[in-house]
Symmetry: C2
């Protein structure tokens, strides 16, 4: 069967809880690896280089682009964000399923280059719930919340181009749903063409011995 890892792109509205799903998934299963992004944005309090991000200067980042070291990159409000290619390749080859948590734009770019990537979009059960979760954080101004809601209103228009839609209601269930998607992808005939060819040969040999 398919022993290569699967590249999973996870996106979702602010407040969808996608970060928590990944955290719990990594705790529960040992065949997932989380890709760490490179960025030119300054580290925030508590953020560690190599854990939360690889922090780069703009020159360093541009060199990574020039050398083709990034799977995808984008610029948001003056800062670059990108996915280092080497780590992803290495983990996939080891059979690890690699998760990238990225914005819709980057997600769709990756899907164009790697049609085998699995795109999952997470959303809360209702639009009101998104608003309530953002409000509930207590850390965001009404203006920021409005901005995020508008962004979500744009993001919903590209969900059609994802592969799977997950409604994050109960965290533990969501972790299992996420794992179901990846488990089932490993069994997809399209990912097991070589295995099937091997079995055909095995049969031919067996039957020719009769």
């Amino acid at each position: 069967m398919n022993e290569k890892g699967i590249l999973i792109i996870l996106s979702g509205f602010a407040g969808s809880g996608k970060g928590t799903i990944i955290k719990e998934l990594l705790k529960k299963y040992d065949n997932y690896a989380l890709s760490v992004s490179a960025t030119t944005r300054k580290p925030r309090e508590g953020e560690e280089d190599g854990v939360h991000y690889f922090f780069k200067t703009e020159d360093e980042f541009k060199e990574m682009i020039a050398k083709g070291e990034l799977l995808e990159y984008a610029n948001y409000v003056g800062n670059y964000y990108g996915t280092p290619r080497a780590y992803v390749k290495e983990q996939l080859a080891k059979g690890m399923n690699v998760i990238l948590e990225i914005e819709t734009e980057g997600a769709l770019n990756i899907k164009r280059e790697y049609p085998d990537a699995v795109l999952i979009f997470v959303m809360p059960p209702s639009v009101e719930e998104i608003h309530n979760r953002l409000k509930g954080r207590g850390t965001e101004t009404d203006e920021v919340i409005d901005k995020r809601m508008k962004k979500a209103g744009f993001e919903i228009t590209v969900v059609d181009r994802y592969d799977y839609l997950m409604i994050n209601d109960v965290l533990e269930e969501s972790v299992e749903l996420f794992n179901s998607i990846v488990t089932c992808q490993h069994m997809a005939v399209s990912r097991n063409r070589d295995y099937i060819e091997d079995k055909k040969r095995e049969f031919e040999e067996y039957l020719s011995r009769k």
Copy 2:
């Protein structure tokens, strides 16, 4: 989210254990229904009408064909076998996932008419293992085993046209793998277009109130 049931076609070599997987699945989960085939073959010892098969005369069966009451049918060694359409439709509408355990020919016919059907092929871990399982039953002559192995050698050539490949090694794991496939299919964006459209409208309304 998609509340309609999913039509699942399960095929597999003789000795693949697909019957046992279905039996355990139906015991464990209550959202699956097994479709019962109609046939003109005579009931064997212990087989009940409406449980193992709907036993029909050839005239009755031909009338079902004429009235379009069968989802698919085929003739094997002089007997007709077919899938009654009404039961499948009714169960799918109720949100039950309906399993048809049928031969590869019927499976591919159904996929042509219902591209939404999910085709799963089950096989044992190795070709030798198929032989051993058939031999182990102790009820089949070497001639019958040879015939089944040749049939399997043909079946493997159409597995490419299935959606998923399941290696049945440990029964309990296989039951979970089967359920993963169906769970993940319910989350497929292609099955949730209406839900996504509803969400788009919900956002439009929310944002227009701002």
